[in-house]
Symmetry: C2
Subunit: 206 residues, 2 copies
DNA sequence: AAGATACTTGCTATCGACAAGTAAGTATAT
DNA sequence: ATATACTTACTTGTCGATAGCAAGTATCTT
C-alpha cells in the first residue's frame, strides 16, 4: 500500500506505482470512513505520499474516485466475460449472476467501495454520475443482449422485453448489494443467490 | 417553507412550525445539492431561521436527516397500509408495488431525498445506518408476511421462501429507484412497473 | 547541464458543531 | 392586571479541519 523507496525508477514506473498506491488507498479509506470523510491528507499518507498528490494526479478527489470505479468495474467486467465465455441465453445470465455473487465474497472491499461510489453518483451535481451511468447502462445492455440472443434461438420466452428484464436483473443485484452492505447478517446472501437463479430460470423459460 | 411572522404563537406552535420548515428545507436542499453540500447555513436560511437552529433542535445535521427519513417513510407506510387494506397474498404485494410506483411519480422529491439518505446509510460510520436498516427490515418483513399468508391460504406457491422473495422484491425496488435517479430517461419507469407486476404474479403463482 | 516530470508545501475560503449569548413565551405573586 | 422569575426558542462567536489552487522542490531524462 505504501510506495516502495528502493532502487531508482523511471518516471513511468514512479507514476504507475503511485497511481496503484493511491487507488488501493482510496478503496481502503472509502470502505473505512466513506468518501466524504476520506481527506486528501489521509489518502496521501495511506498511499505513502503527501496530501497534494491526489489533486495533482487526478485533478480532484472525485477524479481519483472515478478512476477507482473504472478500475474495479473493468476488472469485474473481465471476470464476467471470462465466465460467460461463448454462452448466451439463460446460461450467460446465470453465469453473470454467479460471477457477481462470487466477486462479492472474494473482494468485498472492492464491491463496498464501488457501491458507495455508485450511490454518490445519484446525488445532485455529482461528477461521477456520467461514469456510473455508463457502467450500468453497459451492464444492462449486455444482459439484454444475452436475453435477446436466447429469444432468437427459441430458448427464452419471446414475450419478454429483453431490456426490461435486464433492468430488473441489474436492479435486483444493486438493491441486494445495498442490503448486504447495510447489515450483512440480516440478508442470507447465499440463499438469496440460489433463489435468484431459480427465479431467473423461471422468468426466462420459453 | 419560511416561518410565518404573524400573530404570537405558543411555544409548542413555534416549535412545530420551525420543525416543519426545517424538514421541508432539508428535503429541498438534499435534492438540490446533496446532503454533504447542504450546509447548516443554507438549511437555516431556507427554513427562514439561522444557521444554528438545526444543531439546537436536531443535535446535528445527521439528526435532521434522520427525522426526514422517519417522516417520509412513515407517510409512505401509511399509504401502503391504506392501499393494501385487508388484502393479503398476491393482491397485497401488487398493491404495495403499485403504491410505491405512484408515490415516486407523485412525490419524486421526497423519494429522491429519502433514497439519497438510504445510500448514505451504507457508508461506514453513518449515524443513519440503524434507522434505515430498521425501515427496510420492516418493509421486508411486511412483504414476507403477505406472502406467508398467501401460502397458508394456498394462493401462493408453497415452495417459495417468503423472506427471500420479500428481499428480492424490495431489492428490486431500491435498485430500480437508483436507476431512475441516475437517469430517468434511460429507464422506462412505467413499463418496468408493469412488467414487474407480471413477474411477481408469475413468481408467486401456486 | 538544462528541461521535463513527479511530487510537496503555503494559503484561503468555508465547513460543522460547540459554547455563550439574546429574544420570546409562560408561570406565579401580588 | 402586571411585574418579575423562569423556561424554552433561537442566534452569534469561535475553533479546528477541509479541498483545491499556486508556487515551490525533488527526481528523472536527454
Amino acid at each position: 500500500m505504501v510506495a516502495n523507496t528502493e532502487a531508482p525508477l523511471t518516471q513511468a514506473e514512479r507514476k504507475a506505482l503511485s497511481d496503484q498506491c493511491m487507488l488501493d488507498a482510496a478503496v481502503r479509506l472509502i470502505v473505512e470512513r466513506g468518501p466524504e470523510k476520506t481527506t486528501l491528507k489521509a489518502l496521501g499518507e495511506a498511499a505513502g505520499y503527501s496530501r497534494g498528490l491526489v489533486t495533482y494526479r487526478f485533478g480532484s478527489k472525485a477524479g481519483l474516485f472515478k478512476a477507482v470505479i473504472k478500475r474495479v468495474s473493468e476488472r469485474f467486467g473481465q471476470e464476467v466475460d471470462a465466465a460467460v465465455a461463448g454462452s448466451t441465453g439463460i446460461d450467460a445470465v446465470l453465469a453473470a449472476a454467479e460471477t457477481y455473487y462470487r466477486f462479492v465474497l472474494r473482494s468485498p472491499k472492492d464491491i463496498r467501495a464501488m457501491q458507495i461510489l455508485f450511490h454518490s453518483a445519484a446525488e445532485p451535481g455529482s461528477s461521477l454520475t456520467e461514469v456510473v451511468n455508463r457502467v450500468h447502462a453497459r451492464q444492462r445492455a449486455q444482459v439484454a443482449e444475452w436475453v435477446a440472443a436466447g429469444q432468437r434461438s427459441g430458448a427464452i420466452n419471446p414475450k419478454l422485453c429483453a431490456a426490461t428484464f435486464a433492468a430488473r436483473f441489474c436492479a435486483y443485484t444493486l438493491g441486494m448489494t445495498f442490503y448486504w452492505m447495510l447489515d450483512s447478517r440480516s440478508i442470507q446472501w447465499e440463499q438469496a443467490h440460489q433463489d435468484f437463479k431459480v427465479s431467473i430460470q423461471q422468468q426466462l423459460a420459453a
